[in-house]
Symmetry: C2
Subunit: 469 residues, 2 copies
């Protein structure tokens, strides 16, 4: 709260507001520059940039990044424009506040997303904005969302985003005060090395931040009590808002996990790939030398390198023989080959090869155990899921590959269901928050036995993969 306390901030924002590069649209030069950098990153992952699935990925990534950071090329004043409307406020002979003269207006539960400046992954935002009108003018309600979007569509950190939205509205509509509360949620993507060790990986990092100006400038002001009073039933109160001072500690999980490991293991990065990420930042309209962006290329690359193209067969063969051996002590022979064995809710993490954005969720595996075969241990199935997850993928292909790999180990009758959230469905053009994708592969008996499929689908519990969404 009290973002106007910091004098330097004002100038910074003014400056940023005027960066605007004319009309929003795709500047061919930027698209080409980002596309070239993405091509280099793909090559760095060991990929063939000319294979059909990847051929247009650089172009797709470039357009998505420019669209997702279009806020650099937008101005608050152009958005607010003529959307201030007359509203009389109370008759002079009455005591109090209402309408266009002091009547608090709060718009709640606006869904947005932004890009984390530390790792370049999108993060989700539930935004609540309030303002106190003055001068017998009220703002068109949708503009509160549009102004938020101007600042969200940049590389951001939650507190800075809240401060910028607050200041942008304060300067743009000059009300008696503005308050902003953001509930932010950052995907916590595990490293391929650590995922085999952690059994309870935390999928999300959550933080709540606030900012206030004018009558909201003092965090103890009465009007904050009114604002919080209107946000009840949302697990928000003054106690769980992150104090401003603590923002020195970066919320991004890639920063904390990187620093934790950097002492034990230095990851050598390809300098050409580092330069490529810096050039992307520049093409988006950012200054790669800005303090908060200095480590971004290495953090982004460390994450991206989880998806290096490797010879899966070689890696898997080692695991499979090892995994099967280790099962000998733990065999469960199932004599009734009509019973469905299953492993449900195996988490997975992957990377969409069309957009270079994560998708993640759970895999459910079912099988009829044929004579002469033994159940596979959960940990081996989980390893197979991770091996196929940590590469540039399509969900359809991931599903098929898992099914093809486990099928010969189990006698040929398997069903694999993958349920996933795709970041590209949230952060790109269509912005469909809350949607999820299911894919199915059925082999052997399962391809002809509707009742068996139905029984298996029925056994899948309420989805948990999007928990915290």
């Amino acid at each position: 709260m009290g973002c106007l306390d910091e004098g330097h901030f004002n100038g910074e924002l003014e400056n940023e507001l005027s960066i605007g590069l004319g009309e929003v649209g795709f500047d061919e030069e930027r698209v080409a520059a980002i596309g070239d950098a993405v091509k280099l990153l793909l090559q760095g992952l060991g990929e063939d940039v000319n294979r059909e699935g990847l051929r247009k990925t650089p172009l797709r990534v470039a357009k998505a990044l420019l669209e997702g950071t279009r806020g650099y090329r937008q101005k608050v004043n152009e958005i607010v424009g003529d959307a201030l409307f007359p509203e009389a406020g109370l008759d002079n002979n009455r005591i109090g506040h209402a309408g266009g003269a002091g009547g608090l207006v709060v718009v709640r539960d606006l869904d947005h997303f932004s890009y984390c400046e530390s790792c370049l992954l999108p993060f989700q935002i539930k935004c609540h904005v309030g303002y106190v009108p003055s001068g017998k003018r009220v703002l068109g309600l949708s503009k509160l969302s549009r102004v938020t979007d101007v600042f969200a569509k940049r590389l951001q950190e939650p507190q800075r985003l809240a401060d910028e939205v607050c200041l942008g509205l304060q300067q743009g509509i000059k009300p008696a005060g503005v308050a902003v509360i953001l509930q932010c949620k950052h995907l916590h993507f595990p490293d391929i090395e650590s995922i085999f060790l952690e059994s309870n990986h935390q999928r999300w990092v959550n933080v709540i931040v606030s900012s206030g100006s004018g009558v909201f400038g003092n965090k103890n002001a009465d009007v904050w009590t009114d604002f919080f009073g209107l946000l009840k039933f949302r697990d928000i109160d003054i106690e769980n808002v992150r104090p401003r001072g603590s923002s020195d500690q970066c919320w991004c999980p890639s920063v904390s996990s990187l620093s934790a490991k950097v002492s034990s293991k230095i990851v050598p990065l390809n300098p050409a790939m580092v330069t490529a990420v810096s050039s992307i930042l520049k093409s988006l309209g950012e200054d790669p030398m800005r303090k908060e962006l200095a480590a971004t290329p290495s953090q982004y690359l460390k994450w991206l390198l989880n998806f290096q193209s490797i010879d899966m067969d070689v890696k898997l063969n080692g695991t499979l023989s090892g995994g099967l051996n280790s099962l000998n002590s733990n065999l469960e022979v199932n004599s009734n080959n009509k019973q469905i064995c299953s492993e449900l809710n195996l988490p997975f993490w992957s990377q969409c090869e069309h957009h270079l954005l994560p998708f993640h969720g759970v895999v459910h595996i079912g099988y009829f155990l044929s004579e002469g075969f033994t159940c596979i241990g959960k940990s081996l199935l989980q390893s197979i899921v991770h091996f196929y997850g940590f590469k540039l993928q399509l969900q359809e292909q991931l599903t098929r590959q898992i099914a093809e790999t486990i099928s010969p180990l189990l006698g040929g009758n398997v069903i694999v269901v993958v349920e996933a959230s795709h970041t590209c469905m949230i952060s790109r053009g269509i912005e469909k928050i809350g949607s999820s994708t299911s894919t199915i592969a059925v082999l052997g008996h399962f391809s002809t036995d509707r009742a068996a499929r139905a029984a298996f689908l029925q056994s899948i519990p309420t989805p948990t993969y999007c928990e915290g969404q």
Copy 2:
């Protein structure tokens, strides 16, 4: 299901698909034509089209309508375009279906909205789309949503929308089959005459429809069982999908309520206003003579005329004196003037004067009863709320007007909180489903007593106004 059963449909859709009027964008001529028609409608409501709050409403409505029906000017093939990607499918020596050769893909919970062809109000859609890939090709997931949008952004009826999305995908990507399930929700706006009589007005009309082609062409096909199996936890099953034959009975509540009343009361409509609505339909790219649109102008106008500008003071004075008199039998004198009296969750219905779109929700009223004053009965407060709701409004103004009206009746110490869902926040540019707006007016003691405001806000129960959302 089985939309391809109907031979004539195919030709119709082809025709519609090719209506496309070039690039999506605002055609100046259409904007001007719709704007003129809207001006005429506003005048028909008795409004001054030159007052500041309304001056740009015709332009705003025209742009919103054209944007909301942009599907008429889009083509499926251009959207699907190059978004079919290679995915190998199972090895030849395996039995079953997976990936690009038969592996079912389902995208669930896509939020969309469309315009009801019977009354021109937007309705909400939760869309679930599935398809079975063939030819070793899979579609980029976001395209399932984009294609749905092409048909949703038109004047629609749920079953037809499902059929068109299904056929559009079938023709556009030529898979083994397509299935579409839509959960549709239509606001049931009451008439100003009936609202005073109905105590339990049903706010929403819900319907679930489905459509299938190819392997989904037969509603008893096994693959439908798989699809429904993946939609569990959503209150969807084969039993609550509306049977295709029943679509003769229109789901739009304005049709059923109109026909119910038409025998008892014929509403005379201004012919110039009817012509204006027809000309809007034409400007959107529709044929006003299409059978399903024949009654649309009168249904739309019947709804719009709920918001005629009338002299509120005259109307209210009658009610207030009547209302206060009728209270005499039911007085509750409260001697402790520190106790807060309240009436919570009074429903309201209104019309946004910036977009000519409904907003609706609940009003909460609190007051300290001063000496010499009596509690106001709930029905009188509810009447005051309805009187100010049924006009072209701003939520901020509605809040203030209610506060100003009840304040002198109660001794001057009142708080009014309005919580609302705005259709314009859902159906226009920003498409923020799930957001809500709160406004507050505080008079007398409430403007200075933070603790009293907090106590009142604390007493407001979990929101129910968006039930069914």
